[in-house]
Subunit: 239 residues, 2 copies
DNA sequence: GAGTGGTCTAGACCACTAC
DNA sequence: TAGTGGTCTAGACCACTCC
């Protein structure tokens, strides 16, 4: 337990809320009372509550108090952090397999140059993988990595988790991603690999991922049959 | 100017970053230096920087410093706050018109009961609107509001902005939303109203909106032709 | 070892809500 | 008027990175 106090407090409070030790729609004890109970300063309590507010578990209103919401609970743990762990960690590596459809090095097309903010002479890996969950075809991923930033990719790595390689072996950290979600129809490749029919709707997620250094590392397009997966977002209104 | 100091500081720093007074990829002055420059405590500086980090403008690394990223800039201001202002405010009320396709009161179906967490006897408005931007059909919205929470809806309100009515007249505040984005094909209604063809892909956004009190207020399904609009997400990796 | 950001405290004042 | 959460300070110690 070397977590900072405010995170430990947040965990405790989260547990109490989920176990309804604090009833939904009721007011939490005020921050001074909580500070005394836990033997910490009020600011530390506030910081813990700030985190819970961002998760949508509580709502704080000056002059009134802190209300227990308990809504985000029902919509299935949608921790934003998991978004950067890749499919393998999300579903569990035991269930995911990858079939490599293409593994090339090329110079980037103008579109890829623009997305990765690189010049035409900066080579990229051009990868196409079919991701299977429990043997069922699920997603086609078309990914471009800068060779300079993700060197020495191998078939072996591609068959497992690229993200694990980037995090654990290259020690690179994801800073964020920009995603565009759209609807399209099946292409011949979708039909061949995903088992779709002609004219079936397909959900497409286009994304640019960058590191904490601000450098773009990946541009990818993921496609799956609409009946297999949708994209969910939990949006908490700050202000 | 009655904004808190840390927000004013954040605004100043944001401006400096966007004007490249702090060059991208360079290190910001350290927090103690900034605290002296602005004549505030270090914690206030940190709070300002925390905000900028959440926007994806900078990245702070303990033991190193604070790097200027300047990436989110290019992807077009995607302020999450705007998500709760509705289409009218997003595009500008001068450009938006609404054609009311349906305006009823009914008892909720089992599905709507589940989404709004209400009983079968709690009446809801059943609204279908075609939203037009600059005269062009854009989105079909199928919306359910609890009558108890959004009383006295009129045709006049529906033709303008429901969200403005909820915020300004009812003084209710949105707490958050849960959205599911999926891909489907055109229905007959889409073809009739959006001008789509049969078998064309449609982007569908299903959402449940709740208030700061935790009560669900709205369940809605929005549909638009995939060629007209996609859904974008900016995702910053916390940790 | 020097410098960075992260955490934490004790105490203070403020704006807001409610009665 | 009393109580709430929001802000802010000055000062302290820590873990971490880099030289």
């Amino acid at each position: 337990m070397s977590l900072p106090k405010y995170q430990q407090l947040a965990a405790t409070m989260r547990k109490r809320i989920k176990e309804h030790a604090y009833a939904p729609k009721s007011l939490l004890p005020d921050q001074n009372t909580l500070a005394k109970e836990f033997g910490v300063s009020r600011l530390t309590i506030k910081k813990a509550l700030d985190g819970l507010a961002q998760e949508g578990l509580i709502y704080k209103q000056s002059g009134v108090g802190t209300v227990v919401l308990g809504i985000a609970l029902e919509n299935g743990e949608d921790s934003p952090a998991e978004r950067f762990d890749g499919l393998t960690k999300l579903v569990g590596s035991a269930h995911v397999r990858s079939k490599i459809l293409k593994f090339d090095i090329t110079f980037p097309s103008p579109k890829v140059q623009k997305q990765l903010v690189i010049g035409p002479d900066d080579p990229v890996y051009d990868i196409r993988r079919l991701r299977l969950i429990d043997g069922e075809p699920w997603i086609i991923e078309h990914t471009y990595f800068r060779v300079k930033m993700v060197p020495n990719l191998t078939h072996k790595i591609l068959e497992h988790s690229i993200y694990a390689y980037i995090n654990n072996d290259l020690h690179l950290k994801f800073g964020g991603a920009y995603r565009r979600i759209g609807a399209t129809l099946t292409t011949q490749e979708d039909i061949d690999n995903l088992g779709g029919k002609a004219g079936e709707p397909v959900l497409q997620v286009e994304q640019v991922v960058w590191l904490t250094t601000g450098q773009n590392i990946e541009y990818s397009i993921s496609r799956n049959l609409a009946r297999n997966r949708s994209y969910t977002v939990l949006d908490i209104n700050q202000n």
